[in-house]
């Protein structure tokens, strides 16, 4: 019970593990490119939680700074990814990634 009531590192890690798992699941199973992107965002958030949690319980600033940069990069990534998605849509008339398999040839 002590473990449940006293919020510690493992709690945050657990949440982040769930977010990561859901993110991966989205990336793996969804055909819609936008949902895949959302999954990626989830993964990134999971990583951020981890960074901040470790930072908190180690007393250093490194995790905080990393989290900050990750957010920035995530924003850039989202912009680029959406641009790509729009291009895919323009070319294939769909955001269904399973139709984007020209790499096979």
């Amino acid at each position: 019970m002590e473990q449940l009531t006293t919020i510690g590192l493992n709690h945050y890690l657990t949440i982040s593990a769930f977010l990561l798992g859901f993110g991966l699941f989205a990336v793996m199973t969804r055909k819609n490119a936008i949902v895949i992107l959302m999954g990626v965002e989830l993964i990134l958030n999971a990583a951020n939680i981890n960074f901040l949690a470790f930072s908190k319980y180690n007393g250093g600033m490194e995790g905080v700074m990393f989290a900050l940069f990750i957010i920035v990069i995530a924003a850039a990534e989202a912009a680029i990814a959406l641009a790509i998605v729009i291009n895919i849509f323009k070319i294939f008339k769909s955001v269904d990634v399973s139709t984007v398999d020209t790499m096979k040839e």
């Binding site: 991966l24 990336v27 793996m28 199973t29 895949i36 990634v97 399973s98 984007v100 398999d101 020209t102 790499m103 096979k104 040839e105």
Partner: protein
């Protein structure tokens, strides 16, 4: 630097300046710049005359010699030799001074003459440029103080001769002749070059002075045979340039060049360069080498004379007579009549130049007819030419009161003396051939004078079709085509062509050279150019000792023939020592002192034979002239019939002893065949070998290939098959969908998790 040296360098460079100006700018100058060439040569002659005057006339010193040199190539501190430099330099001595004046004078006259003769030619300016470079090269030979620069100018003379012979290069015969001249000269030059190399390899210097000093000191490291070989090889340069047997063949063909060029180059100066060169190296020639030279000279004199009697082309007769006279000079040097040979060189230069220029005037007047058979009767039309031509002819034939008599007689006297000293026998062949040639000379020159100037004009007798005479030389001008043979009247040439004739003819009179019309040795020339002492005696102890044994006897009886009492050439310590020793002997007062006993003997014997020579040669010359009269004036003997009678001999002479044919069949055909063979060898055998190796490698490669195909490749194919099958299965996995790959990736990650934890647990 001595002021005379400076002047001589100016004289040397002036014609070069003329060449440079004219070759580049002749088309932009008025009169194509001929006045530049003429003016420059005039200046050069003026300076040369001053040098001549101050060296010979004003203050004659038998040992006069000033030299100046500069480092041309510095090879640094050469291991085993020490500091080594190749120097270039200029030397002036008595002989140089005379030669300088002679060359520039004749060149000046030829320039003047050419302004008339070459007028209207399309390459008029270039002609004068070529004359300039020729004069430069010739002066270079004259002034050089070392073998290397002589060789350089020697080749340059060859080049200018090449350019001038081929001046009418559009004619195939001219192009052939120029090539032949250059190649024949080159053959001689490689001999000369080897001679130079022999000397250089021993002394590491090219300078005459140092070579002679070393030779006199006995520093020659090789055997005497090498020294003799060096002498003969150096003489080969002369054989080429002075057209001696067996390389004489180029000179008659060289008559393809413009006639004034023939006068300048192929009669007066360039061909004399060979003789001048032999004179320069005279003191290092061993007796054996001198014997070779004497025989070659005699052979040349005789052979050329026999050919000259049957030639019909006016210039060819003169060409062969030149070869013959050059033979005399070489003969003179060979027998040790040094002064006489050089004397003949000078006198011959003037009268032969006169003859060539005269023949040029005749050809010019006859509108480029060169065949004497179609001339005749020109005496009345061309009085100036006739007079000067005849005077020069008399000098050539060696009639008394002419310069030619003085010099030729001195040579023949020397030849008799030589034969006596050497002990007779085969050596008498040399004077005999000399006298016989003198007779032939008189005969063919008499023939020429008669055919050209006397009798009636035979222009109309010329066959209309002249194609069968294509091998005969004809000067061609741009105006040639519109000059029709017989319609134009023959006329005397203009003043600028006449003046040189007169000057040259005047220089053929005995009085210029000697007060005594019968003895050249009393003249200034032979007194001032005495025989120098040899330097090989010291290097040649056996022979020297042999001669020294009876030397005092002859030394004592050397005839005093000059007022000057000084050693001829005291350049070398040994020679000077000899000279002092002989001077102490006391009996040679007032005369030349010959440190070399052999030379002394020959000179002495030559003097003794002086009158013998005069008698014999006068008789021979008279015989020759009488024969010419008998045949051509009185027509007692019909030349045609005689020719038919001795047809083989006649043809032998007419075809120049078949030398051209012999060379063509052996040397030229041989070289070409060898070249063709080697070329074939190169393409088929050497290259064939290469290609054969390539083929072999190729064959081996094919063999390898079949092994490869069936064994190695079989294995490879099996592997490929396996891979192919596996691939066909596995490629199903490649869907092109990124998500599939993500799934697989994560499966792998998960698998690793499992693996890791299993490891951890167990």
């Amino acid at each position: 630097m001595h002021s005379l040296i400076q002047l001589s360098i100016v004289v040397l460079l002036l014609p070069l300046l003329s060449f440079v100006i004219l070759i580049f700018f002749n088309r932009r100058l008025p009169r194509r710049g001929d006045f530049i060439g003429l003016g420059i040569l005039g200046t050069a002659f003026g300076i040369s005359a001053y040098i001549f005057w101050s060296v010979i006339v004003q203050a004659y010193d038998p040992a006069f010699r000033i030299a100046w040199d500069f480092t041309w190539i510095d090879l640094g501190n050469v291991p085993g030799v020490g500091p080594l430099q190749i120097k270039m330099g200029v030397v002036i001595d008595n002989l140089t001074a005379i030669m300088l004046a002679m060359v520039t004078l004749i060149s000046l006259l030829v320039h003047l003459y050419s302004t008339g003769y070459m007028a209207g030619d399309k390459n008029y300016g270039r002609y004068f440029a070529f004359l300039g470079i020729f004069t430069f090269s010739m002066l270079g030979i004259v002034l050089s103080d070392n073998l290397f620069s002589i060789y350089i100018f020697w080749e340059l003379v060859g080049l200018s001769s090449y350019l001038l012979i081929g001046f009418f290069f559009e004619k195939d015969s001219a192009a052939d002749a120029q090539k032949k001249a250059f190649l024949a000269n080159r053959v001689g030059d490689i001999g000369m070059w080897l001679g130079i190399l022999i000397l250089y390899s021993q002394f590491h210097t090219f300078s005459f002075e140092q070579i002679y000093a070393n030779l006199a000191a006995g520093n020659f490291g090789l055997s005497n045979a090498w020294l003799t070989a060096a002498g003969i090889l150096l003489f080969m340069g002369c054989v080429g340039k002075s057209a001696q047997f067996p390389l004489h063949v180029w000179l008659p063909d060289a008559m393809e060049g413009p006639t004034p060029v023939s006068a300048l180059i192929h009669a007066a100066t360039m061909v004399a360069a060979g003789v001048y060169f032999v004179a320069r190296i005279f003191i290092m020639l061993t007796p054996d080498a001198l014997h070779v030279i004497a025989f070659i000279g005699a052979c040349t004199a005789f052979m050329a004379a026999t050919i000259a009697i049957t030639q019909n082309d006016i210039k060819r007769v003169l060409a062969y007579s030149t070869v013959s006279q050059l033979g005399y000079m070489v003969l003179g040097l060979g027998v040790g009549a040094y002064s006489a040979a050089l004397f003949h060189l000078v006198t011959h230069a003037f009268f032969k130049a006169c003859l060539f220029l005269g023949s040029g005037a005749i050809i010019h007047a006859m509108h480029h007819e060169q065949d004497m058979r179609w001339m005749g009767g020109l005496r009345k039309h061309m009085p100036w030419t006739f007079a000067t031509f005849t005077l020069a002819t008399l000098a050539l034939a060696g009639l008394p009161l002419t310069s030619g008599f003085l010099s030729k007689d001195a040579i023949l006297a020397g030849a008799i003396g030589f034969a006596k000293v050497e002990g007779g026998g085969i050596y008498y062949l040399i004077p005999v051939l000399g006298f016989f040639s003198a007779m032939l000379t008189a005969f063919y020159m008499g023939r020429q004078i008669w055919l050209v100037f006397f009798g009636d004009s035979r222009t109309h007798l010329k066959p209309a079709d002249t194609s069968h005479q294509a091998h005969h030389a004809h000067d061609t001008h741009a105006t040639h085509a519109d000059a029709h043979h017989s319609t134009h009247a023959v006329h005397e040439v203009s003043w600028n062509m006449r003046a040189p004739l007169v000057i040259l003819a005047a220089l053929s009179i005995y009085a210029v050279y000697s007060p005594d019309p019968l003895d050249g040795a009393k003249g200034w020339f032979m007194k001032m150019i005495p025989t120098p002492a040899t330097v090989v005696g010291a290097a040649n102890p056996q022979k020297g000792a042999l001669l020294t044994s009876n030397a005092p006897l002859h030394l004592a009886s050397v005839v005093p023939s000059s007022e000057t009492a000084a050693p001829a050439l005291a350049a070398t310590p040994v020679a000077a020592e000899h000279a002092v020793a002989t001077a102490e002997h006391g009996e040679a007062k007032g005369g030349h002192i010959y440190s070399d006993p052999r030379q002394a003997e020959i000179v002495h014997a030559g003097h003794a034979a002086h009158f013998t020579a005069i008698y014999i040669s006068s008789i021979m010359v008279a015989l020759g002239i009488i024969m010419a009269f008998v045949v051509y004036v009185f027509k007692i003997i019909d030349p045609e019939k005689t020719a038919r009678l001795i047809r083989p001999l006649y043809l032998f002479s007419l075809n120049k002893w078949y030398w051209d044919e012999i060379y063509d069949a052996t040397v030229i055909k041989g070289s070409m065949a060898l070249a063709k063979m080697l070329s074939w060898f190169d393409a088929k055998v050497v290259d064939g070998m290469v290609n054969g190796v390539a083929l072999l490698v190729k064959k081996f490669a094919f063999l390898n290939d079949s092994f490869d195909k069936h064994v190695v490749d079989g294995m490879v194919n099996f592997t490929a098959f396996t891979v192919n099958t596996t691939g066909a299965v596995l490629r199903k996995l490649q869907t092109g969908k990124v998500q599939t790959y993500v799934v697989m990736l994560l499966l792998a990650v998960f698998g690793y998790f499992i693996f890791y934890f299993t490891r951890l647990i167990y």
